[in-house]
């Protein structure tokens, strides 16, 4: 802990790096209350390690969310040939189902 962090740690509502980490998902997912968000923002101001961590963490979550189709994209190419459908059904009949 550096002297500035120590000073801030005396303020009411201060949270530790550990607590910051515990609340990070709720923060990134927009599930924290206003007070909760303020506490996180305060911690980011005084702790560069957590600030950098949270930025990379949020970016990671964004990248992951954008990387795989959820299966609900109306513009996706959903063409399937009849022979593929038949292949799948035949495989089941050949005992692939049990």
């Amino acid at each position: 802990m550096n002297p500035l962090q120590w000073l801030f740690s005396l303020l009411p509502g201060h949270i530790s790096c550990d607590e910051f980490d515990e609340r990070l998902d709720a923060y990134v997912d927009g599930e924290l209350s206003f007070t909760g968000r303020v506490r996180m923002a305060m911690h980011r101001l005084i702790c560069t390690a957590c600030a950098a961590y949270a930025a990379a963490y949020a970016k990671t979550v964004g990248l992951v969310k954008a990387s795989i189709e959820s299966g609900n994209d109306p513009t996706a190419d959903e063409s399937v040939s009849e022979d593929l459908v038949q292949d799948i059904l035949n495989k089941r009949m050949q005992g692939g189902n049990r």
Binding site: Y57, T60, I68, S70, G71, V80, I88
Partner: protein, 198 residues
Amino acid sequence: MDAYRQDDETELLAALKANEARAYEFMVREYSGRLLAVIRGILRNEEDARECLQEAFLQAFRAIERFEGRAKLSSWLHRIAVNAALMRLRSRKRKAEASIDDLLPQFDGNEGRIDPAWQPPREEAPPLEAQDRKEIIHEAIAQLPENYRNVILLRDIQELSTDETAAALDLTPGAVKVRLHRARAALRVLLKSRLEDL
């Protein structure tokens, strides 16, 4: 062919469990388009994607008996298909599963965060194409142990709530939160070493 209701899957599920051929045909026709699109996005090779779709359906056929309908059939199939595609990608790249413990953040006894302060400067590399970036992200997700990967798929890809994810995976909401946090933290570490801007 008779259609089954989309809003209430009880009838379809019962027919699948009773091994009724028309129910299987309905399921394959109804979902294969969407699933193939999802798999194509991961494998980017038509032949591979078609094989993977067959594999995914065979897995689903074998597992349907144990499927309890706590999640929607579509999200259950989506998870099976994405897992099959990621596993195929992982073996294509010969990547091993990562140990989650090695990838979690650490704290000193004083509640402060310990992050590796110095890291060797990365060599100048040409900027990555968007598709290559996606592939790196897919590889990282594929490296997660399955019980962490499933939570990521349900929470971050399918955007189910914590409670829905808990029900689908037969976990407590608390366990879902813990796994989601560990999985995201591990992905940050896995991606950090490969994406310049992270």
